[in-house]
């Protein structure tokens, strides 16, 4: 099957999945105890505002009609007004998702680069002390409870050593007095450092262990023996011959672990008060701000689906043997 056809098929699958998730959310929110529409109409709203929402979401109509209204509104990005902020949900979410994407992307790139590098080295030195050490450390971090890891990092680096801020994304005082661009960037990176470290520690172990296993399998192939017999340097055999082929399962694991990592991201954002979508969904759930909670979940799901889709296409591009 051609790459183009695979891409199209995979895209259709993405749409179907999103549709099913939308339906699931529609049903779940209608199971909510209380008045119909309680998840869109805040008691604090004015009568006119309530009427507008009822109109826009067809809340006075039958359930199948409401479903059609719901799908249309979701596709347009209309989720109603936030109970807490009193503004349309879509205006609030855009900024939050951007903040999350920055943290997630930096974290993923660093974690995978570090994990794969260590993974290929320890597989090459299988059974050595280095191998045992990194395998142990990796297994330890892999099951580390993410918020606890965050708290410990804050305790060491902020509370005791006073190197980094306790949380947040920027220092409001710095940003209030016309800072230069470089001041802004430094302030941002200063805040980014600890949550990023937590992300990387939480995440590198997975790619490292998979890379190690995958390398071990690749190293048994005949072409590795051939390469060694030709007298190629160890480093060339390891990096050019083995590691390139061993990378494939790591890409698959990346695509499969995205959804799980977003869960860890929610916890890390909460601990570090990072103003991302993960922290938002927790806060608004506790505040019973249902329109924002519903929309946050949809946006997170969509982000996971797109990341997954991208990883699968990259995989298909890297490995022409892939079949749908």
């Amino acid at each position: 099957m051609s790459l183009r056809r695979y891409t199209v098929m995979r895209f259709i699958q993405l749409l179907v999945t999103f549709f099913i998730v939308m339906t699931l959310i529609f049903i779940l929110f209608r199971l909510m105890p209380g008045d119909p529409g309680v998840f869109l109409i805040s008691p604090k709203m004015s009568e006119a505002a309530k009427e507008t929402i009822r109109e826009q979401f067809g809340l006075t109509k039958s359930i199948p009609e409401q479903y059609i209204f719901f799908i249309k509104n979701t596709l347009k990005g209309e989720f109603g007004d936030s109970f807490y902020y009193g503004r349309p949900v879509k205006d609030i979410l855009f900024e939050k998702i951007l903040n999350s994407i920055v943290l997630f992307t930096f974290g993923a790139i660093l974690a995978y680069a570090i994990g794969m590098t260590i993974g290929k080295i320890i597989a090459w030195k299988r059974g050595s002390k280095t191998d045992t050490f990194f395998t142990m450390v990796g297994l330890g971090f892999w099951t580390f409870f993410p918020p606890w890891l965050g708290l410990i990092l804050i305790w060491i680096f902020s509370y005791r050593l006073d190197l980094f801020p306790l949380g947040g994304m920027i220092t409001p005082d710095v940003w209030a007095f016309n800072p230069t661009l470089s001041q802004k960037i430094i302030d941002f990176l200063h805040h980014l450092a600890l949550p990023l470290m937590a992300y990387v520690l939480m995440w590198f172990a997975g790619s490292m262990l998979i890379m190690r296993n995958s390398m071990l399998e690749t190293l048994r192939e005949d072409y590795i023996l051939t390469a060694k017999a030709k007298g190629l340097k160890d480093k060339v055999v390891r990096d050019k011959h083995a590691a390139r082929n061993a990378m494939l399962p790591v890409v698959t694991s990346f695509s499969m672990s995205i959804a799980f990592s977003f869960g860890g991201g929610v916890l890390i954002e909460t601990v570090f008060s990072w103003p991302g979508i993960g922290r938002t969904i927790v806060d608004v759930t506790l505040l019973q701000d249902y329109p924002l909670a519903q929309a946050s979940f949809m946006v997170i799901t969509l982000a996971v689906l797109i990341a997954n889709f991208a990883a699968d296409i990259v995989y298909a591009y890297l490995d022409p043997r892939v079949k749908y």
């Binding site: 099951t143 409870f145 606890w148 997954n308």
Partner: protein, 292 residues
Amino acid sequence: MKIIRGKSKTWDLFIKSTLGKVGLGLLITFAIMAVLSPIWIARNPQIYDPLTGKDPNVFGSIPPTMAHPLGTDQLGRDLLSQLLKGSQIAFLVGISVGVFSTSIGTLIGLISGYYRGKIEIVLMRLTDIVMTLPLLPLLIVISGIFGRKDIRMIVLVLSLAGWTLAARVIRSQTLTLKERPYIESARVSGASNMRIIFKHIAPNILPLTFLYMTIGVTYAILTEAGLGFLGLSDPTISSWGMMLQWCFMSGYTFKALYWMIPPGLCISALALSFYLVGYAMEEIVNPRLRER
């Protein structure tokens, strides 16, 4: 018919692995904690009950003393009681989710691998979809919708969402197993599909099932603890995640390390111990990983 190694051989290989031993040792430690929990509380429930107990002589959170070996929380409740009780809860949640989700995964894997065709396509697409659901956010939203947070509901959602990895791997294993000659001879001698699946294929994927159960347990423990930490787990039980949340919320995080360290350590260590047992299993179950 069994083509895997016998039980005792598997056990010998397992006990030789250092990681497996460490994992098993940790598991036994936590099991002892869970067993000790009622004994510790029964000494004086009015003081030592993890949720409703209160030491009348204690005001605010205090560091370890003779009466409270791990100190107390801000309400004067004994932290050791909470920690021991937490071990019970973690085992309960972890093992029930592990068993339920792996059973679903094994069944789906066996059926789709054995019958192929349309059944396989439908089941595997379903697996893809469930796999991409962000579970923790989903649980957060569900707890918000229903307001009432119930541990049974958390277990149910985790089980209904956590079977996908097992289903995928067991399907591909079933695909290779069903081409073996002994399956052919079973079919020729008139065995029904059900009999072939459960009598001839299932026993051979049992080690894999066990491996994915340990992964399922790890993920259930971490996710439930995550919900607890966010304040969205069942408030009628004291889990390790809740302990950490009480510490975080009452502002004692960095003032009371005797409070902040133990629950996080226990969550991570119990998750690790199940993972280590699985990891040691995998080296045995997956012959491609063994050293040549």
